[in-house]
Symmetry: C2
Subunit: 392 residues, 2 copies
């Protein structure tokens, strides 16, 4: 027998030995998954910022997007870059860690320390790969609820997230209405559209077409489907930016040259940019994880769990909602947010709706857009007064 050395990328090392706090749930507290199983052991890796007050009333859960993670406001252990929401979360920031206790957990199926396909299955000593049951948005939220139980937090002051994070916010409000005082789904949708599924399927096919993917067993076999994963990331990345933003940032500008080379080199800046996005992504993300988190989004259809009525998902809710969309987001356009607002109105919920004017596309939720930051600060301030959370 040939021993193939495992060559794990930096990001894959985090799967088993994360630079994060980790709570492990054993078979006495399994995760009940939509796929129909009780899964254990489950590790949940998380970060916290700020301090929980005595009343335990100031906890905010931040849910991350598709390829995000728990490193919201600290230096990322793999890339060395600032946390993905370090502009939004911190002392004196809109999500003020002097006032609120912020929790962020890696999602189930992720690759930054919460159990995912790159994690080692203790039963076999090998990575789960595709043996991990498929994960849904509801599964992710159930695991987060288990984390909160572990932390002794009964009620969240707020649950906030953009994109796939926004789906988790909606699921939280639907699954645990009594545990959510306020909720802010940003640039999200209550269900994945046909076009959304289509783009994700292209990404999955790109990964699976890579012969180094080896039916998901690449970690055992010492191969690496980086090329497929990079193509998947490139395709997805286009959907995160608006056509206008691309035109403004890159247009038809050449990359370090005055004229086309008449070759397949990256003549254009946009090509160079996309190649860089693909190449840098594979250093921090696991290919199978990408399959799992995209699939979780595709399966998301909140109304489907409530007889086809999105309003029914929010029936009787006392949660205060602030729904945010961005004008140039074509991945989860304003119409998706409007559908959520209509359902919340039909459920007589407390909801405000803010459509932010920007040409920066879906990625605007990650960027320092002043009106968006002011909206977040204002919504939380008002909710904090209603909740009786002291000002800093």
């Amino acid at each position: 027998m040939t021993i193939v050395p495992k060559q794990r990328a930096l990001g894959q090392v985090e799967a088993d030995t994360p630079h994060s706090l980790v709570v492990r749930f054993d078979s006495d507290r399994p995760l009940k998954m939509d796929a129909g199983c009780a899964f254990a052991p489950l590790s949940v890796a998380y970060q916290t910022y700020g301090a929980l007050n005595a009343a335990k009333s100031n906890a905010i859960l931040i849910c991350h997007a598709l390829t995000g993670d728990q490193h919201v406001a600290n230096t990322h252990p793999v890339t060395g870059k600032p946390g993905w929401w370090q502009t939004m979360v911190g002392p004196g920031k809109p999500i003020d860690t002097d006032r609120y206790f912020v929790i962020a957990a890696n999602v189930v199926g992720g690759c930054m320390g919460t159990t995912g396909p790159a994690s080692t299955d203790p039963a076999t000593g090998r990575a789960y790969g595709l043996d991990l049951p498929l994960v849904t948005i509801r599964d992710m939220v159930r695991a987060q609820a288990m984390l909160l139980d572990h932390l002794g937090i009964e009620t969240l002051f707020s649950v906030i997230g953009g994109s796939m994070g926004g789906m988790q916010v909606l699921q939280w409000a639907a699954s645990y209405p009594e545990r959510v005082f306020s909720a802010m789904p940003i640039a999200a949708a209550a269900k994945h559209s046909s076009q959304n599924i289509a783009f994700h399927e292209v990404g999955r096919q790109a990964i699976m077409a890579d012969p180094e993917w080896r039916n998901g067993r690449y970690l055992d076999e010492g191969t690496n489907p980086n090329k497929g994963l990079a193509v998947a990331r490139m395709a997805a990345h286009i959907t995160y930016l608006s056509e206008k933003a691309l035109q403004r940032k890159f247009g038809r500008n050449y990359q370090d040259r005055a004229a086309p080379t008449f070759s397949f080199d990256a003549d254009f800046q946009i090509e160079n940019y996309l190649r860089y996005q693909g190449a840098s992504f594979v250093d921090r993300f696991d290919a199978n994880s990408y399959l799992y988190v995209t699939r979780a989004c595709d399966y998301f259809d909140l109304a489907g769990d409530y007889g086809g009525s999105l309003a029914a998902a929010f029936k009787g809710t006392k949660t205060r909602f602030c729904v945010v969309s961005f004008t140039s987001d074509w991945l989860y356009p304003t119409s998706d947010s409007r559908a959520i607002v209509h359902a919340l109105n039909a459920a007589a919920a407390s909801v405000s709706f803010v459509e932010i004017q920007t040409d920066r596309g879906h990625d605007a939720f990650l960027l320092e857009v002043p009106e968006f930051f002011a909206t977040t600060r204002g919504f939380l301030d008002a909710a904090a007064r209603a909740r009786g959370i002291a000002e800093h």
Copy 2:
């Protein structure tokens, strides 16, 4: 030395032995290419429909789109399906072959009989692969002009095409204004946008990431980058359809099942559809050809050849234009057509502009959209009267 058998797909067989008329231009009549060379020998494969009148005044050139070909109105020799515009072109159809002489040629860089990367280089006996110089839209049009010279046709009654075909139409009007009586660019743009380039680059990277691509030498090595090509096609295909059309046709409907399988099977109809589009495409198209034709589009920037002024490209034109766009086309949206119309107006050209209301996206130019068909018929009728072409 090991002889690797060439396993050419059906589509690749057409590259050297097409089911079409072929004219060959030898080194006494080389193709002057934008890449800076005089290329020979060049084969141009073409189809004709109808009959040229005595005055040679009724010729219409149809320019095909990215992966289209010369088989406009006859059964396709590889797929056995009707020609791609058989609804538009034929006896009594809007482009009436009882009245007009219709010519369609495979573009340079294609794979259906005009010289392209899958064609055999007579100097080596091997496929050109990436040794073929990069091809531009202007090169394609130059080759078409050589074909018209060969056919003894001085002036085209009309030149018509959609998408990349529309780019050729614009290039014809700019390069050979005196040879174009009327012109109909459909669902086109005078330059490729940053987002357009981005999607093409994803497709190229998907092909090049396939280890069977072998730096473009797969025909020699008996390999086949079908997986990469299929992913490229899937990504592109999403851009051909509107979000609304996808939602209407597929929505979140399951494929032959009542519930999700919690696997990576094609649970959703849209996934099944995309996989089919990818799988069927590779039977008729060559991967290197895909690189060439996408690159030709990316390089297209008509104003760039005229000091940055699109109006200058059309200065003094006597050609009658009809510019057509579709409301739900997000690949080459109406704003792109409007920019063409503005330039034509600035050049004091005769131009009508029709924006067709449809939710069918970019692909509408290939579909039987009544208002579009009526527009085409009406524009040609009026132009034919002005040109003195007898009614049938």
